[in-house]
Symmetry: C2
Subunit: 111 residues, 2 copies
């Protein structure tokens, strides 16, 4: 049970462990969107968005509704969005350090 819970948490975190998927979840907090709308707003190729959506879908973090030939995505539970708020607060609580961290990683990514 304990292990299942930890495994579950880790998998949800893994699903959120990409800026594109964070963006998708953020956008879906406002209401449902089609794949195309998500592509535009996030600024990513259709195929790529679809792959990221598949990851969120497989974890049941988003649910879909089909209307005509398009598919609307929405967040399964607002709780998932609230987690982002927590991290937002955390980010600003340690703002300078957090920014420094991101810059440092960019540095070493280039070198």
């Amino acid at each position: 049970m304990l292990h299942s819970l930890r495994q579950f948490k880790a998998e949800i975190f893994q699903a959120l462990a990409h800026p594109t998927r964070v963006a998708i979840v953020e956008l879906l907090r406002e209401g449902e969107l089609t794949v195309n709308q998500l592509c535009e707003k996030v600024g990513v190729e259709q195929a790529n968005a679809s792959q990221h959506l598949a990851i969120l879908r497989n974890k049941h973090m988003v649910v879909t509704r089909k209307e005509g030939n398009q598919i609307f995505y929405r967040l399964r539970d607002p709780l998932l969005g609230e987690i982002l708020d927590k991290l937002r607060a955390y980010f600003f609580a340690y703002f300078d350090e957090a920014m420094a961290m991101l810059r440092a990683e960019q540095q070493e990514a280039q070198s």
Copy 2:
């Protein structure tokens, strides 16, 4: 800014995206622990624990205190633990489905 924030969130999630690291964070909510204590409680090799701790340390999610020849780890901010509570609630809100998800993944991992 928006992108930095998303990048930051994704990196924190990535750092939490492993059951061992989830376990470490859970344990540190209760107070500081040495590496050895963490190894025992989590049930993992010393070198492995050290690698996971390095990941949390690099993201400044844990901080350390040296005393003699041992090092105590503690959580940087209780907010990180609260995120786990959110996911705990989420897990139980969809318990049957969540368990089914874990089982399904175990299946396909073996086959």
